[in-house]
């Protein structure tokens, strides 16, 4: 990995964030007028105009855009029309809930998905392998809201063990985490299995065995580290799907996180809030992928030197 390779990646990451934020800025403004959402359909036309003037919505879109960029650079990310407060404050209030949900889900996904995939690959074509893949396909195919409602019926209505929704205690966390983990762990199990299967058939595995390593030693020293490389890519997508998948799960379980805030803010055209959340998602995706890219260069030195032409 060379400094030039790293610089290229970082520049590309920054451009991606700028592109995403600019697209969202323009699309949101062209497709709906916040004044109607804030003041209501029957509001006085003068009041609607006054609202637009107050927030600069009557200005040409490129003026608004330049103003937005300039404000962002000065650390001002706008005002939430709906919550009547700083938009960043509204977003930051929800962030811990989303991070908690993401963190616990991420932990369980990795703890369940990777071992399941490795185990299935090592027992290729056995009934355990087939069962693991069957469960994985089922978990991946089942929409979040169906599974969520099913869990509510089972754990809350029938057995009365867990609350149906909300947040605050560990009991509130169980069903949302379970709902998201089922789908995510299924993806991880499938990816790990194929990555492992590919590695297990590589010549270096035969060499390892030939030089006298036991099967489990060969797997631990050679198969697992090599299978980890494509798996790192999945982690990049994983962060994005956690936030996107969280939208549905948060709605079903009334979890007060960023996903729900994003949906309601888009529907209400609470522009500043949407922009901050999109910026956060974009940054976290780009950052994860940047780390993945840099990690790739470190894990596999061929990647960095090939890309930079050295």
């Amino acid at each position: 990995m060379t400094p030039l390779y790293a610089l290229q990646k970082i520049t590309r990451a920054l451009l991606t964030v700028l592109l995403i934020v600019s697209t969202v800025f323009i699309v949101l403004r062209l497709s709906g007028d916040p004044a109607i959402y804030v003041l209501g359909l029957d509001a006085d036309p003068q009041a609607l105009d006054a609202f637009r003037t107050r927030w600069g919505l009557d200005q040409p879109i490129f003026v608004q855009y330049l103003q937005f960029l300039s404000n962002c650079l000065q650390g001002d990310f706008g005002y939430s029309y709906f919550e009547e407060r700083d938009a960043m404050e509204a977003v930051l209030e929800r962030l811990p809930q989303t991070l908690l949900l993401m963190g616990v889900t991420g932990l369980f996904t990795v703890l369940i998905g990777i071992p399941a995939g490795v185990y299935a690959a090592l027992h290729h074509n056995s009934w355990i392998d087939r069962m693991t893949m069957l469960v994985s396909v089922a978990g991946f195919s089942l929409p979040n809201f169906v599974l969520g409602i099913f869990l509510i019926l089972l754990f809350s209505v029938t057995w009365q063990l867990l609350p149906t929704g909300g947040s605050g205690t560990w009991q509130h966390l169980v069903m949302p985490v379970l709902t998201m983990t089922v789908a995510e762990a299924a993806v991880f199990a499938r990816f790990t299995r194929s990555a492992m299967l590919e590695v297990l058939h590589q010549p270096y595995m035969r060499t390892a065995r030939a030089k006298g390593l036991r099967w489990h030693q060969a797997v631990r020293r050679h198969a697992l580290p090599n299978a980890a490389i494509p798996l790192v890519t999945v982690v990049g997508f994983f962060v994005g799907t956690l936030i996107a998948g969280g939208v549905v799960t948060e709605s079903v379980f009334a979890w007060p996180g960023l996903g729900r805030l994003l949906v309601t803010s888009v529907a209400n055209r609470d522009l500043a809030v949407v922009q901050i959340i999109v910026m956060l998602i974009a940054c976290s995706m780009v950052l994860t992928n940047l780390i993945v890219d840099l990690l790739y260069g470190w894990l596999d030195p061929r990647v960095g030197s090939l890309r930079t032409g050295n």
Binding site: L39, L48, F82, E93, P163, V252
Partner: protein
């Protein structure tokens, strides 16, 4: 301390003790809702969800008793009298305390309607409050418990305006202590049976019983309006006892709750009629005969039966029984008549040109299904309607080009035609302001409706219903809009017809 004083003390102590025990035994209620208001002053957010919550916090001078056919009863005012056609005098109730401890009096009435909150174009509440109280000229304080409100011209609705949404009174000291309108709308202070104690945006609003309330003890210790967007989750929570009331139910969910001994269904039509609007600027809709044909081609009863299982109804024109004398009982509303529709199309010289019908993804209950059914009904008489699903209101309102038919609902903000047909289709309404409809004749009758002579008002209403339905329709009615709730059987609660959830002692009892 003599014996009498000791007895008095012990008696007083006993009363206080039993009140405290009573207060402690009251339940904490949770209401599962789809959405909560963001800005809690009515003049900052004119929405059904705001009305649902905040009328428990802020009160009007006159109380509308929804359990007694909407009879007007004393509220913050003990009595009121008309001085003339444009002046109303209120005698305020004594001993009313605001949630912040200040005494409610005439100054608070004047302040609630004054320049810092409502009166004048620079006031923060003017933009929203204007369509309700815009006719107000001034408020005159006679003494600390008497005020006169003066209107600019004769107004038959004066009493109703102070008995309905948007005339809620606030407390001056608390408003000024908030420091700004932005702060105030987060936690308004009034005189109601509950006070706002906690607001977490997008999650919940908590009201707590106000124990110094003048009207009686609130039956619940606290009420939390919790946002649960998924209907299945609201119903599940109601069944497990986490929520005591769940809002916005659809008829297909009724059986689930009615078969459970712990839950039941409440509610019915609210003061709102679902309508469709015709934009007369559309080349095909300029001719009134085309709009009449669209209206005759609709089998309204079929829509009600198919989508609401009989839980909504077809009204007798754009009017409601709560209008009292102004409800024209012998009015013959337009009926489904496909033959007549075809004949009108022929007379209008229609040749199958395309007419756009813009609608949203179920902003109204069953909006998509309704649009599809309507398009099919129109197709059967030979009208070529193109369905255009839009993402938001702005795409329907702002983009006038090519707009033909679109959806709306007509709520009666007052139990009077002035609060519905003329408010919406008159010169101040959205349709005339945005040129989808113009009718000088309709406006002339509307001005007559604004008078105080009852016979003349009835005559005007008859004429306006004819114009709306037969002569020059700006749109047409479909059915009444209902609001259904799932309710725990531990509560004895009857919803009113405005969307306001009255959880005071007047309307809610806890069983057992």
């Amino acid at each position: 301390m003599n014996r009498t004083s000791r007895s008095l003390c012990s008696l007083l102590g006993g009363v206080l003790f039993s009140t405290a025990v009573l207060a402690d035994n009251r339940p904490d209620l949770t209401v599962a809702v789809t959405k909560n208001p963001s800005r809690l002053d009515p003049m900052a957010e004119n929405s059904n969800v705001n009305k649902r919550v905040m009328k428990n916090v802020l009160e009007t001078l006159i109380y509308t008793d929804s359990q007694d056919n909407g009879t007007l009863k004393p509220g913050l005012a003990e009595s009121w009298k008309r001085i003339d056609g444009k002046t109303l005098e209120f005698s305020l109730r004594q001993g009313v305390t605001c949630h912040n401890g200040e005494t409610f009096d005439a100054n608070d009435v004047a302040f609630s309607l004054g320049a810092q909150r409502f009166q004048g174009e620079q006031a923060p509440g003017w933009g929203i409050g204007r369509q309700y109280l815009g006719g107000l000229d001034s408020v005159e304080i006679i003494d600390s418990h008497h005020v006169q409100v003066h209107f600019k011209q004769d107004d038959p609705l004066m009493e109703l305006r102070f008995a309905n949404w948007m005339s809620e009174m606030v407390c001056q000291d608390a408003f000024q202590a908030a420091g700004s309108w932005e702060n105030w709308v987060k936690q308004p202070v009034g005189t109601g049976p509950y006070r706002v104690t906690k607001v977490k945006h997008g999650d919940h609003i908590q009201l707590t019983a106000f124990d110094d309330y003048w009207g009686g003890v609130a039956p619940a210790k606290s009420v939390t309006f919790k946002v649960i967007p998924e209907i299945a989750a609201r119903i599940a929570g109601l069944k497990t006892g986490e929520y005591q009331i769940a809002t916005e139910l659809t008829p297909d969910q009724f059986e689930l709750l009615q078969n459970d001994k712990n839950t039941d269904v409440a509610g019915g039509p609210i003061r709102n009629i679902r309508v469709i609007i015709f934009d007369e600027n559309h080349p095909q809709l300029k001719n009134p005969k085309m709009r009449q044909a669209l209206s005759y081609a609709i089998d309204r009863q079929l829509i009600v039966d198919a989508l609401y299982g009989g839980h909504a109804s077809v009204p007798n024109g754009l009017q409601m029984k709560v209008f009292g004398d102004l409800y024209i009982a012998d009015h013959e509303s337009i009926k489904y008549d496909p033959t007549k529709a075809r004949q009108l199309l022929k007379e209008a010289g229609y040749n199958g040109e395309e007419i756009s019908y813009r609608y949203l993804q179920d902003y109204y209950t069953g909006e998509v299904s309704t649009a599809q059914i309507l398009a099919e009904m129109w197709r059967q008489v030979g009208i070529n309607v193109k369905l255009e699903l839009k993402e938001n209101w702005g795409q329907i309102e702002d983009d006038a080009k090519g707009r033909g038919i679109f959806n709306w609902s007509n709520s009666a903000s007052y139990p009077d035609p002035l609060g519905q047909i003329y408010r919406l289709y008159g010169p101040e309404g959205w349709f005339q302001r945005n040129n989808t409809y113009q009718s000088a004749e309709f406006n002339t009758w509307g001005e007559q409706l604004k008078g105080t002579d009852k016979a003349k008002r009835i005559e005007a209403m008859r004429a306006m219903l004819e114009i709306y339905e037969r002569q020059d329709p700006p749109g047409t009615f479909l059915h009444t809009l209902p609001m259904f709730y799932g309710v725990s059987t531990t509560l004895d609660w009857t919803p009113g017809d405005t969307g306001f959830m009255d959880l005071s002692h007047r309307n809610l009892r806890i069983k057992g």
